[in-house]
């Protein structure tokens, strides 16, 4: 059983978020709080607005109604440097800058936001690579030379560059083989425990949701249901029930029992 230092601090608080595309409301009053130190999963069917919610939470998209607070201040008003040191994002395709090597990708935010000398920047970059489970010589490679799993790890290392308090992950294990995906899951757990980073994970991956997440927000019909997995498993809502008790959920359940001792 994992034990985490967790307090009741709310890091990010979203209230009554409404997002519309034309007439269709993707989110119709979504409220959720992200607690310091937790791993929060965001799940939902294709087209349920998971990625849009993620964009809203990190301040890339201004919701049509509602507010997002980062440490109590509206995220739209946060200074860019402040926001960058609080929030890290792992984009689905990695979003590594293709013209820079992996090490340069990691050093870019450090170089722009601090006045550390180059050798110190390089030491930090090497440490982030190691934290993300990449060999030090991979820093020389360019994104086009990396495999899918390595792209995710490199993007992870870059997201960690400024030691953010909250790390948002958009589908961190999609397009990966199961072994690589387990490696990414293990890394998330390690960083959550070791660095105390709060994670918000948008994912379809039931194994990630079942083994890693403290709480899960399920998006159905424009609303979010947020609870611990134990309680969600009891839910009578048809989509949530089907999602958590479908044929693919069984394997994830086994993984959960293994990860948690006996569940």
């Amino acid at each position: 059983m994992r034990e985490r230092a967790r307090s009741a601090d709310v890091v990010i608080s979203a209230r009554d978020i409404v997002n519309r595309f034309g007439r269709q409301a993707v989110h119709d009053g979504v409220s959720l709080d992200v607690m310091r130190g937790e791993i929060l999963g965001i799940a939902g069917g294709s087209g349920s607005g998971k990625s849009v919610l993620l964009k809203t939470l990190i301040g890339l998209r201004r919701p049509d109604a509602g507010t997002v607070l980062l440490n109590g201040t509206p995220i739209a008003e946060a200074a860019p440097a402040e926001r960058a040191s609080q929030i890290g994002v792992l984009f689905q395709q990695g979003a590594l800058f293709s013209s820079l090597s992996v090490a340069q990708n990691i050093m870019l935010p450090i170089r722009e936001h601090t006045d550390l000398p180059a050798p110190a920047q390089e030491r930090i970059a090497a440490m982030k690579l190691e934290l993300a489970g990449m060999p030090a010589d991979s820093g020389l490679k360019f994104p086009s030379q990396l495999s899918g799993g390595m792209v995710k790890r490199a993007a992870f290392a870059r997201a960690l560059a400024l030691d953010p308090m909250v790390l948002f992950l958009d589908e961190p294990t999609s397009d990966l083989d199961p072994l690589t995906a387990s490696g990414i899951d293990a890394m998330i757990g390690k960083l959550n425990e070791g660095l105390g980073v709060t994670f918000v994970i948008v994912t379809h991956d039931l194994t990630t949701l079942f083994t890693l997440c403290d709480r899960v927000a399920v998006l159905v019909d424009g609303k979010a249901t947020i609870d611990s997995l134990e309680r969600l498993l009891q839910s009578r809502e048809p989509w949530i029930h089907a999602f958590l008790h479908g044929p693919r959920a069984r394997g994830a359940m086994v993984a959960r029992r293994q990860a948690h001792g006996n569940g």
Binding site: A81, D137, L160, K190
Partner: protein, 389 residues
């Protein structure tokens, strides 16, 4: 602990610069070297780690103490932990570590850190020679590729001549609309502008010799023989050649070209030939249109600069130009169209998997198409001179 605010206490501030406001105001780090026991207090993070390192060096310069008290440390991040781990490796004893920092320290100190790999440095001269060799090799391959691609296009066209059902008429007509009709306004405007430019130069140069009426000859002949077709071809290379590369390139990155192949369809017949044929039909028509607009621009500017009436202008033009001038210009158009189409499609199919290669190939295709158009035009000038046309 309260007695720490003594003279030997150094107070450090975080760099103001980009550091988030609010945090930098407080003393970030305090090194107290009283009794020879340094202690870190406040915040040890990416913004303060350099100063901390410097002050610690100074503190240890005097005393022999190899311990560091961390009981007063409020905030610690990974660069800070990295510094502490490096100190620990040098034999410094870290005391009073708070429980919330322990796991971070354990994690960072447990890493097997290797220095960041450096790119191998090559001597300038050697690099120059390598680059030269690479460029030569690439130019050679490029030439072979163009020749091979022309052959493959010809092959596809011959096949389609034998099998008339293979012609994709809807897609050819779409190409004509996109490369031709939509380009009419810009081509016409440019042709008028070019004749204005030539006319102004002609009047300025010929007036001292009293031959300003020869400006009309200058405008008419240069527009019909050279400028009409050249300007149109360059514009179309930028407008449609680039579009060919980008369209086919995006299909390549999204594996659509592979999908065609798997369905047993020929990419040359489906993607390349309709574009090239469309362009070969449109460019002569656009050139004719540019010629007419250029002559119209000449009439306008002759009226303004020389006071020549349109009717007189027409008579003058009729005397100045030969039908061969007109056909020399028009003859070049399909050749240029073929070159632009071949280069555009070839670079489109060369696109690799990534999105950035679409941009790279598009640039190359436009540069190469314009280069070849101008080189061919020069060759044509020499050829027609020798033939006496």
């Amino acid at each position: 602990m309260d007695a720490m605010e003594t003279e030997s206490t150094r107070t450090l501030r975080a760099p103001m610069g980009l550091h988030p406001p609010g945090k930098s105001a407080a003393p970030a780090l305090v090194v107290d070297s009283r009794n020879g026991t340094p202690a870190l207090r406040g915040t040890l993070d990416i913004h303060t780690v350099t100063q901390a390192e410097r002050s610690l060096e100074q503190a240890w310069g005097k005393g022999k103490s190899r311990t560091l008290d961390l009981g007063g440390l409020d905030r610690l991040d990974t660069p800070g932990a990295l510094l502490l781990c490096a100190l620990r490796k040098e034999g410094v004893e870290l005391t009073g570590v708070r429980s919330e920092h322990q796991s971070l320290l354990d994690l960072i100190c447990g890493l097997d850190l290797a220095p960041l790999a450096k790119p191998k440095s090559v001597s300038r001269a050697r690099e120059l020679v390598t680059q030269l060799g690479k460029a030569a090799d690439e130019a050679w391959r490029d030439t072979i590729d163009v020749i091979a691609f022309v052959a493959r296009t010809a092959n596809a066209v011959v096949y389609m001549l034998v099998h008339p059902t293979a012609w994709r008429l809807p897609s050819i007509s779409r190409q004509i609309a996109e490369t031709g009709i939509e380009a009419l306004p810009i081509v016409g405007l440019l042709a008028v502008m070019i004749s204005v430019v030539i006319a102004y130069q002609g009047v300025a140069q010929l007036r001292p010799w009293g031959g300003e009426n020869l400006t009309i000859n200058l405008v008419a002949v240069s527009v019909l023989r050279e400028m009409g077709v050249l300007i149109t071809a360059i514009l179309i290379a930028g407008r449609s050649g680039s579009a060919f590369t980008a369209e086919i390139g995006v299909m390549k990155t999204r594996e659509e070209v592979d999908a065609l192949e798997v369905m047993g369809l020929d990419r040359m017949q489906l993607l390349v030939v309709p574009r090239i044929v469309g362009l070969v039909i449109t460019l002569p028509l656009l050139t004719f249109y540019a010629d007419m607009m250029g002559l119209a621009g000449g009439a306008l500017i002759s009226h303004v600069l020389l006071g020549v009436q349109p009717a007189q202008y027409l008579v003058h033009v009729r005397q100045a130009v030969d039908l061969s001038d007109f056909f020399v210009g028009l003859f070049k158009a399909p050749v240029f169209a073929f070159v632009i189409g071949v280069v555009g499609c070839m670079h489109g199919l060369r696109v690799g998997g990534s999105a950035e290669s679409v941009g790279r190939e598009t640039t190359r295709s436009v540069v190469k198409a314009i280069f070849l158009v101008i080189v061919l035009d020069a060759l044509f000038s020499i050829l027609f001179e020798k033939l006496g046309v």
